[in-house]
């Protein structure tokens, strides 16, 4: 396909393949890096892409030798590239990690069943053992059942809350020391914006952390924190990695969609904007008078929770009692009418919004 020679022509507009890689100066450039605007060839891109992730891992001490690491794998582009790159780096740099693929089967016919097929192929392709945990087994309900019971409104709330816990439970079954997820720089910038838009101070301060939950049972980290989505997709395309890309069949998340579109528009004008939003998020200082939620454990299931019952147990209660609206909606507004308003507002903060996860991705 690339028949044109590297003639170095400067004539506008340049044809594909007429520019040289700024790094090696030998091969034709294949892409423009959003982070640096450098034009680089495929081979140099692989090296830089993998090395930046390695540096992120090392500089942030994400792993220790001998750890068991569960890779949250949805079959989508980010987690597929993460599984591939992490197993490569583990080999190349002797991290000494035991890597596993961990998938959550929400029970969405025509969506998750297809993407799980991709993960099963990844299991063989990358030689990583796979564990699948299902909503049906954990909660007794599939998302298909839940949508039948509650309709297409609020179903993402259930899915987000359940998925977060399902990942933790799966990781516990694998006896994992850590969970890694494929959240990329674009995702994090988007979440910073969303948390500002929602006034969710607790999450705003937490969403840019590369590792979270260190006080909980299983910490989570995001090795792609500084990796642009464009580069992840380019990497998957050039390496011909096998990933699944279909939107969840149950309602797109409109609010997050707007934030996403805004980020992408900004990126087109100034690609650095993504890293700058993350930096802004990191540098927010929460005033000491802001009440932060306190963490405890759920009385019923023992999962981390800032309230008596964790969100999953409240939602499940509603489903099983035929009152699916229970636990849905504005807990903050409800709290204001409460005599113990202040206390409940404080407590509900951490529970209100992990709910709005991007489909096919995992929540913060």
């Amino acid at each position: 396909m690339d028949s044109s020679a590297t003639d170095g022509a400067r004539l506008p507009p340049p044809r594909a393949g007429s520019r040289l890689c700024v790094r090696c100066g030998e091969r034709k450039a294949a892409l423009k890096r959003p982070k640096t605007l450098e034009q680089i060839c495929r081979e140099c891109f692989y090296i830089i892409f993998e090395d930046e992730i390695h540096q992120t891992i090392v500089q942030n001490s994400l792993f220790k030798a001998g750890e068991r690491v569960a890779i949250g794998a949805s079959g989508g582009k980010d987690s597929t590239v993460l599984a591939y790159v992490l197993s490569e780096l583990n080999r190349q740099h002797n991290y000494g990690l035991d890597l596993f693929l961990l998938s959550v089967d929400e029970g969405i016919t025509g969506y998750r069943d297809d993407s799980l097929e991709t993960v099963k192929r990844n299991e063989i392709q990358y030689g990583l053992p796979l564990k699948i945990v299902s909503y049906k087994d954990l909660y007794g309900w599939t998302m298909d059942d839940i949508v039948k019971a509650i309709g297409l409104k609020n179903n993402c709330t259930f899915c987000g809350v359940f998925r977060r816990q399902a990942l933790d439970r799966g990781a516990a079954l694998l006896k994992a020391d850590k969970i890694v997820t494929g959240h990329n720089a674009d995702d994090i910038a988007e979440t910073v914006l969303l948390n500002i838009l929602r006034g969710d101070i607790a999450r705003l301060s937490r969403c840019t952390f590369i590792t979270t939950g260190e006080d909980g049972p299983i910490p989570r980290c995001k090795p792609f924190k500084y990796t642009y989505e464009k580069e992840i997709v380019m990497y998957a395309y050039f390496k011909k990695l096998d990933y699944f890309s279909t939107e969840c069949i149950y309602s797109p998340n409109a609010y997050r969609g707007f934030a996403r579109e805004f980020i992408k528009d900004l990126e087109r004008m100034r690609p650095r904007a993504i890293l700058d939003i993350i930096k802004s998020g990191e540098n927010f200082r929460i005033s000491t008078t802001t009440r932060m939620p306190e963490q405890g454990t759920c009385e019923r299931c023992g999962y981390i929770s800032s309230q008596k019952l964790c969100k999953a147990c409240v939602l499940l209660d509603g489903l099983n009692r035929g009152l699916p609206k229970l636990g849905i909606g504005s807990t903050k507004a409800g709290a204001r009418a409460d005599s113990d308003g202040k206390q409940r507002t404080k407590r509900s903060e951490r529970n209100t919004s992990s709910l709005q996860g991007k489909h096919g991705n995992f929540d913060f």
């Binding site: 396909m1 690339d2 506008p12 507009p13 340049p14 044809r15 594909a16 393949g17 520019r19 034709k28 450039a29 294949a30 892409l31 423009k32 034009q39 949805s74 989508g76 582009k77 980010d78 987690s79 494929g182 959240h183 990329n184 674009d186 995702d187 989505e229 464009k230 992840i232 997709v233 380019m234 395309y237 050039f238 890309s245 279909t246 939107e247 969840c248 996403r260 579109e261 992408k264 528009d265 990126e267 087109r268 991007k358 489909h359 096919g360 991705n361």
Partner: protein
């Protein structure tokens, strides 16, 4: 002009039968000295291939931000973007990055 167009990352769902690869013949535009630019190709694709939700693919006169374009496996940002001129048997790939990961 014969071109091969590929759609991925979910964009194929906007096309008939969700077909990913399309071998097409694009009639050279009469104006603009008969050159097929990317700008021309995008409007051609919208007219001839996209069956639903064109807003998932296009925004204003370009692709929607978040859709990657490669001409002969080279990032179109290095080839002149909308002004890039296509040649016989070129392969143009469109990949959406907007789907969940």
């Amino acid at each position: 002009m014969h071109l091969t167009l590929e759609f991925g990352g979910g964009l194929e769902l906007l096309l008939e039968n969700s077909t990913k690869v399309h071998k097409v013949e694009v009639t050279t535009p009469k104006d603009g000295q008969g050159k097929v630019t990317m700008k021309f190709l995008l409007s051609w694709v919208k007219e001839n291939l996209i069956k639903e939700r064109p807003e998932m693919f296009l925004k204003a006169d370009s692709v929607r931000p978040g859709v990657l374009v490669l001409i002969n496996d080279c990032d179109w940002e290095l080839c002149g973007g909308l002004d890039a001129e296509l040649e016989e048997k070129d392969v143009v790939v469109f990949i959406s990055t907007l789907h969940g990961g």
